[in-house]
Amino acid sequence: MPNSGFEVLLSVNNLRRLAVGLGGTLEIALISVAIGLALGIFYGLLLTSKNRLVYGLCRLYLEAFRIVPVLVWLFLFFFGSAIVLGVNVEGFFVSVAVFSLWGCAEMGDLVRGTVTAIPLHQWQSAEALGLDKWQVLRFVIIPQALRKITPPAVNLVTRMVKTTPLVVFVGVTEVLRVGKQIIEFNMMKNPLASFWIYGFIFMVYFLICWPVSRFSKKLEERWAF
């Protein structure tokens, strides 16, 4: 297949470069997902607070991350830290911070919705059986909350993974940028390189996100009640 562009993809060097880029993106995604979801659980419980000040502040944070595009947050943190604080924070850390905060905000709202959706009667009927507060949480409330929250939480994870290539704008070497470099390098020789490179990246993202959503689908079926 001379000049089909496919051989660009097969070059060991190119593949290695793509893999490194991919690793960088995934690293940011995985760290942010872990931090975001964990903090999001606590933040979600705060969102159920009846204290109006606590609720107001939490709500403000949630809306801020919902309304302002992630890219803008990346710029704000990246350039903001340099201008306001006078320090140059590396793109990697800026990315982790922004994606964690975003994940935390979205996860918190999911947790809030799930907790408030479990009727008070579930608490009462469990307490009436003589279960203490911790047992009610452990055997009745958390298992139901977990089942309810899994599908939207998995959806959130795939959304975060899909959005991480934005970190290219704050100088992180990631898979899309590497792909673009390879394409530009081969532009004259192989005009079709872009098709194969982007196709490859498409497949990689598909292969990451698809099993995750399949897994959540399976859980949903098993946990149906």
């Binding site: 003589g130 203490d132 009640f225």
Partner: protein, 252 residues
């Protein structure tokens, strides 16, 4: 059980409960002796449900005393955790745990709270399910059951703790009419077997047949009480008369 009959299991004196400025229970007195089936009736909003929830501590009260088996709620050494194991409660909306099978619903209390062996508890649960005609549904999830079946499972779940007193809060009120009977039958069977029961209901015919005593509540107090036969034949108070009248449909 016969030997213990006549001993007071529940004693309530001057019970007061308010929500903000609204008075729900206004100095209520009530005694229930072992083996007795007491039916509580009264207009909606008169505090029947709140009374039941105060008895097992799901709601707190502001004044008055509740003695369960001779021990006063809130006194030193008293714990709701222990008291609730003596008091079974069945709710209007069944409130089975939707993520557990029928059997798991029933075993949660005996195994986790009373720390009984799973096998022994399961054998007993199965016998109880047999009694309410649901042994073949033990591995089903609540969503697979009809309302009447769910309510019978909820009764078994409460019974599995071997309670000394059972509270029923309008347990047939949200059931389709054709399912009311199967639940009332189970309750009648329990009453005849000598279970101590405090039953809030609007099923007057059931109250007449199944109860030893009828308590008529109005405005957070007990307005009248008496033997079921006497009460329904000729209520002493005007309020009770008016209340009972609302249950008879007349075309004029």
């Amino acid at each position: 059980m016969g030997l213990l009959k006549g001993k007071v299991i529940l004693e309530i004196a001057g019970l007061k409960k308010c929500h903000g400025s609204k008075v729900i229970l206004d100095g209520l007195d009530l005694e229930v002796t072992r083996g007795e089936a007491v039916v509580v009736i009264g207009p909606s909003g008169c505090g029947k449900t709140t009374l039941l929830k105060c008895i097992n501590g799901l709601e707190s009260h502001q004044a008055g005393k509740i003695l369960i088996d001779g021990r006063e709620a809130g006194s030193p050494g008293f714990g709701w955790h222990e008291a609730r194991q003596k008091i079974g409660m069945v709710f209007q909306s069944y409130d089975l745990f939707p993520h557990m099978t029928v059997m798991e619903n029933i075993l949660l209390g005996p195994v986790r709270v009373q720390k009984r062996g799973r096998e022994e508890a399961a054998a007993e649960a199965l016998a109880l399910l047999e009694r309410v005609g649901l042994a073949d549904r033990k591995d089903d999830f609540p969503r697979q059951l009809s309302g009447g079946q769910k309510q019978r499972v909820a009764i078994v779940r409460a019974l599995s703790m071997k309670p000394e007193l059972m509270l029923f809060d309008e347990v047939t009120a949200s059931l389709d009419p054709e399912m009311v009977r199967e639940v009332l039958d189970v309750m009648l069977q329990l009453a005849r077997a000598g279970m101590t029961m405090l039953i809030v209901t609007h099923e007057m015919e059931f109250a007449r047949v199944a109860s030893d005593r009828v308590v008529f509540m109005d405005g957070g107090m007990i307005a009248e009480e008496g033997k079921a036969g006497d009460f329904f034949r000729e209520p002493k108070t005007e309020r009770a008369r008016r209340f009972l009248k609302t249950f008879y449909f007349r075309a004029d």
